[in-house]
Amino acid sequence: MTSIIEFIHALGKYDFLQSALLTAVMVGIMSGIIGSFIILRGMSLMGDAISHAVLPGVAVAYMLGINILIGASVFGVLAALLIGFVASRSKIKTDTSIGVVFSAFYALGFILISMAESSTNLHHILFGNILAVSDSDIMTTAVVLGLVILFVVTFYKELLVTSFDETYAKTYGLNVQIIHYALMLVLTLVTVSALQTVGIILVVAMLITPAATAFLWTDKLNVMLVLSAVVGVISSITGLYFSYTFNWASGPAIVIVAAMLFAISFVASPKQNFFKLKRSVAR
């Protein structure tokens, strides 16, 4: 209990902690929203792939001294296009295509990073370094959050119909490819923002775990989006608290909280019917 009060005190005192909290909350919201579409489209693996494939973009951005959002977006979208290209132009299945492309990008990223910067930076990219966010990082994250919300609100109905029934969307003339690649672009932007809080390795957890948790509680897409964002925010704040209090790395702390929330939902949600299932199995 005293540690919670301490945490709140520290929040009032230290700018870096306020920045960290603000960033974590924004990332929790955006990854919860975009993650919902990722899991509903059966693209969890794609989410993981894109989050790793941005690494060379991050390295190139360091080298050229440009905003990492730009470098990362280029490589994230390039990876998505390449995955789609390989899968559609051959008999290779999409998950295999994802595996080939993202590991190649990831490997390239390691090589470029080692050429560009010291290894401490690599550590931060992989595991996140939320206690070191700058004011410009906060601005960038805020812009991405704005874009995510604008994208989802504007194209809600297109995202819904392509996620639910893509063939039908095609028959009425919707360009489902553009929706797909726009979502991949937004996913890339979210990934880059989440790099700071949880790092590349755990970005996929922020995308998938809150969304999966929300999915267990509702049968309505709009409710799921909001719930998922809420779960993302709670995970971020609580994780940051653990990180500060026990000196854990912020990324793993946030992800563990998200996983706990999922576990509770898994047992308690009416949709999952955990107890009923168990009983009927036992019978």
Binding site: L40, V161, F164, D165, T167, Y168, Y172, G173
Partner: protein, 246 residues
Amino acid sequence: MLTVKNLTVAYDDTPVFSDVAVNFNAGKITGIIGPNGAGKSTLIKAILNLIKARQGSVDYNGQSMKSVQKKIAYVEQRKDLDLTFPIDVLDVVLTGTYGKLGLFKNPGKAEKQASLDALEQVSLSEFKKRQIGNLSGGQLQRVFVARAIVQQAEIIILDEPFVGIDLQSETAIMQILKQWRDENKTIIVIHHDLNKVTKYFDDLVILNHGIVDFGPAKQVYNPKNIESAFSADLSSVLFQEKEGVQ
């Protein structure tokens, strides 16, 4: 009139059918019959541009299919949908209004009312709030028919709509199709129950990796055509029974 010219479609090296030419008339319910794997669904998908034809063209009153895309309603055969998707029956039907709304416009009161009316027509009103995974197969099929209703299309294409549906719903859907026919729409139905062919359809296309015959159902549905598309045995069973009754 929907006109198919010299259409050749292939998934791999050997085409499913080559050089298919056939017309679908407005104000008619046209049935498509043929054995499993004959290429019925493939023909429809090629007409809808869901698969690229290797050769040939399709037009609707001289216009390209792309330009009339928003005037088409299509109910697929056996959808492999994610039945756990967080969406209820009413919202599925509501997606039928998306094509006409276009980008940046959201369904409002009118669209919602149209969807409720469509659900009423397929007798699913009481299920409107139900998540779609919690329906029977036949009820789910009727949800997609309801979505086709709200699309207010000129061309309606149904791929085996009566599979797994009870007779009562089948009759109700046929009633809707007949109403559309009287509104001069073009209706295409892939069907496998040969006994009802002449009862349900005005025109008939018989397919077996190519057109066996097409034209008015009463003429085309004859022992010779059924024999060449299916088998002599089937033909004799179907037509002997008929003669026996007469």
